[in-house]
């Protein structure tokens, strides 16, 4: 017996096994943190539950509803209650966090889409330009929402990741760990936003006011996966009898940069328009009034949100869409006629979006 034990001890690479066990235990703790304790993910899980409640309410009280989704620029821009009370448009704001990535944001809203509904895509341009799929926050959010298939087997079949990649994404990583550590040490709140910032329709606001610098310039070329996402989304909506359109979020733009930024946005919209119709908006994604922004060049204040909501409501009511000719005319009207780049696909995007505030 003793000899068999000593033989087993000699045979077993105890140190290697111990290191593997350390990997497993640490990973388990990381999963626990990511899905249960991470304040950022927890906030958006609760926020999504609020939005779901409003969506169920709208579905129960109205024949069809409007769902608008995107990153936080969407969450801060569209006041669903104003859309309902002022324009009789039952609207749910499914804006979450851009860091979740376009795939997860889309998958999250699709489960609430019913035949007859209207789906407004308000994804930030950066999300459609940079490579997509496998965003850690998106992985953690989808697992915390009990929908891992959003990343492993998305309905739109865009940028799925393996189960292994998904499971290894359930870790905070260095930036998050040390950011929380810094906040803890300095006594700051763990997240900038709170559940009380969410209104029942999903509209989000914050009392935080910071100097904003803009615009959030972007390459006008869509990524390969963005083209696929928009194409598959269009096909899915057609099959489900869901009306679909894109609405460009507003970014704060200093007056001297307005012209160039709008020009870049027109190029961007001309590409979007090849896959999804684009709702008319004379701002073309550029607003020059910094007082209308709260804490980032994407986050509108209540006053800014009111203007944006009213404009969008009118465009939806009248279903006013840009035609390619009209968009082209926007480029030439008072703008230097530079060659458009529509139709090209961005294989190597160089711009990266700003880190989302935690």
């Amino acid at each position: 017996m003793d000899s068999s034990i000593s033989h087993f001890k000699a045979w077993l690479p105890a140190r290697a096994v111990g290191l593997l066990a350390a990997v497993a235990v640490t990973w388990g703790l990381c999963v626990l943190f990511s899905l249960q304790l991470n304040p950022y993910i927890h906030l958006y899980v609760q926020g999504a539950a609020l939005k779901d409640q409003w969506a169920d309410k709208m579905a129960g009280e109205h024949r069809a509803k409007i769902l608008i989704y995107g990153g936080s620029s969407c969450a801060f821009s569209i006041d669903g209650e104003r859309m309902l009370n002022r324009y009789n448009l039952p609207t749910v704001n499914y804006g979450l966090a851009a860091g979740f990535g376009p795939v997860v944001l889309t998958e999250c809203v699709l489960r609430q889409c019913r035949p007859g509904d209207t789906l407004i895509v308000a994804l930030e341009p950066e999300l459609l330009i940079k490579p997509m799929g496998g965003e850690t926050d998106g992985i953690q959010f989808s697992f915390a929402m009990h929908h891992p298939e959003w990343v492993t087997r998305p309905v739109l079949a865009v940028a799925p990741i393996s189960w292994f990649a998904a499971l290894t994404g359930l870790r905070p990583g260095g930036a998050v760990t040390f950011t929380y550590l810094g906040k803890f040490m300095s006594g700051q709140p763990m997240t900038r936003y709170h559940l009380t910032d969410f209104h029942p329709s999903g509209w989000q606001q914050t009392p935080v006011r910071l100097k904003v610098v803009g615009p959030m310039e972007h390459d006008p070329l869509l990524s390969t996966n963005a083209c696929k996402l928009l194409r598959n989304l269009r096909a899915w909506c057609d099959r489900q009898h869901v009306r679909l359109a894109y609405s460009l979020p507003w970014s704060y733009t200093p007056p001297e940069k307005e012209h160039d930024f709008k020009l870049s946005n027109v190029d961007f919209l001309l590409q979007i328009n090849q896959f999804v119709p684009v709702l008319k908006d004379p701002y073309l994604g550029a607003n020059t009034n910094s007082d209308l922004y709260a804490d980032t060049p994407w986050h509108l204040t209540p006053a800014g949100s009111m203007i944006r909501t009213d404009g969008l409501a009118e465009a939806i009511q009248n279903w006013e869409l840009w035609t390619p000719a009209e968009l082209g005319a926007q480029k030439s009207t008072g703008m230097p006629s530079e060659p458009g780049q529509s139709g090209r696909v961005n294989e190597n995007p160089v711009m990266s979006p700003p880190a989302p505030p935690r």
Partner: protein, 467 residues
């Protein structure tokens, strides 16, 4: 063969499972045939893993490896006095693929001023600089030391041993070939334990330190000396942890298979002179240049030793990449070593100032390693030597930059990297064994936990894959 990717480990596991199945299937074979099967399996595993990297890499590796063997066999058929002449033909032939893929664009388009579009976007096959040098060393060692030609299969395993094929260590015939001749797949708890320790340390270096430090590197400022120094520091730490991490994983993987590879890094940032730095940094490459270039040129015992030293380091710079910046990087190191040798005896600095001076030189030189645009490199170098670039405004700008780039997180990683360097220094100072304290079981558990916790979502490729 990116050790930081899960795909590599999955493929390795798959390959090992196939090998285990084959061994079980042929367990009744005589011992010598089982040995042959093991060697064949090791070679097959290496080829399979290389093929998974890319087909071009696979084909070029086979061409260089097989060509070197049969070229050497052909040379050995001649009389001894004729062999040297044929060596001058064989070595350039061995280096031909390397010259074409790595230097043709630089020489033809940049130095000679032609514009051959086909050369602009040549992809350098992974590991070509490493395995080409290993084959050259093999040919020279065989001829100079009058060694017999090994069996072809043993040579192939020596040439294509997968843990070290794409980024070294550049092993010598006397160190690796005998191990390949004796190779068997054996279960050894001691080897697995030791290997796992090196792999864990390598993974920590790469995934926790190098990949996280790379996030903060931003070489956009050409006028602010503080930011340039910050980026030199970040790059210097990153490239060390990246390459040393890779090398340690290679050592660990080999150890798990019962093979001992050379440690390529012995805590170079603990060095107190440039000479010592190069005895600790990328050791197998330094030894290669010493034995196959510096000593044949006359080494340090001739009057033109300074020229030899400068030439070796310029060539070493060019080995790292085809560009004027790499030439300059090599020249800076060559010059530093010449100054070191000339003044080293006259000024016997205490350890700390000597270490500081060595670090200033090596981290300052990293600028010409990462900045590939010559005109920007010149601007940055000017800034480093301009007093105004160190003014209060530049300081404020640097502080502001750190605030906007999540300076606290960067500071945490720099502190972590600093603690690891301290442990490396303690290992040498107190135990005279590199990485001694980082190999302690409890420390390793902490390092593993930190790797799992802090590794970023996406790893960067290994820097030295580009060489």
């Amino acid at each position: 063969m990116n050790f930081a990717e899960a795909r590599f480990w999955a493929l390795l596991l798959l390959g090992l499972l196939v090998i285990l199945s084959l061994r079980a299937l042929f367990r009744n074979l005589p011992a010598f045939k089982r040995g042959l099967l093991d060697k064949l399996a090791l070679f097959g595993l290496g080829l399979f893993l290389l093929l998974c990297v890319s087909r071009v890499t696979f084909i070029i590796f086979l061409t260089v490896a097989v060509g070197s063997f049969f070229g050497l066999q052909w040379v050995l058929r001649h009389q001894e006095h004729q062999r040297k002449r044929y060596l001058y033909v064989l070595i350039p032939l061995q280096l031909l693929p390397l010259a074409f893929y790595k230097y043709s664009n630089f020489v033809v388009n940049q130095v000679l001023g032609f514009d051959v579009p086909g050369l602009h976007n040549l992809l350098i096959p992974v590991g070509i600089s490493f395995y080409s040098f290993q084959k050259v060393a093999f040919v020279v060692d065989t001829l100079v030391f009058r060694q017999p030609l090994p069996r072809f299969l043993d040579y192939l395993n020596f040439a294509g041993f997968f843990p070290q094929i794409v980024a070294g260590p550049i092993e010598r015939r006397k160190d690796l070939l005998p191990q390949m001749e004796q190779f068997r797949f054996r279960w050894s708890a001691a080897n697995l334990n030791e290997g796992a320790g090196w792999i864990a340390l390598g993974m920590f270096f790469k995934m926790c330190l190098a990949d996280n430090l790379s996030v903060f590197f931003d070489g956009s400022s050409a006028a602010n000396a503080y930011l340039i120094w910050l980026n030199n520091g970040l790059f210097g730490l990153r490239i060390y942890y990246d390459f040393a991490g890779y090398s340690l994983i290679a050592v660990g993987l080999a150890r798990c298979l019962g093979v001992k590879l050379t440690l390529n890094f012995l805590s170079p940032y603990c060095a107190t002179s440039m000479g010592e730095f190069w005895r600790r940094w990328h050791i197998t490459l330094s030894q290669w240049f010493r034995d196959y270039l510096y000593i044949p040129l006359g080494g340090g015992r001739v009057r033109w030793w300074a020229f030899n030293l400068a030439l070796v380091f310029v060539v070493s710079g060019v080995w790292h990449g085809a560009g004027w910046n790499f030439v300059l990087w090599g020249a800076i190191h060559g010059l530093a070593l010449i100054v070191n040798r000339l003044l080293g005896g006259a000024f016997n600095l205490p350890a700390f100032p000597a270490w500081l001076l060595t670090m200033l030189t090596s981290f300052g030189a990293w600028l010409s390693f990462y900045e590939t645009h010559t005109h920007i490199l010149v601007l940055k170098m000017k800034a480093l030597f301009t007093p105004q670039a160190y003014g209060a405004a530049a300081w404020r700008e640097a502080v502001g930059h750190c605030h906007t780039t999540n300076g606290f997180v960067m500071a945490c990683f720099l502190a972590l990297a600093g603690m690891i360097l301290l442990l490396e220094w303690l290992s040498i100072a107190r135990r005279d064994t590199p990485f001694y304290f980082l190999q302690r079981p409890k420390v390793q558990v902490i390092l593993v936990a930190l790797t799992v916790l802090l590794a970023p979502e996406k790893n960067n490729g290994f820097i030295y894959f580009a060489f």
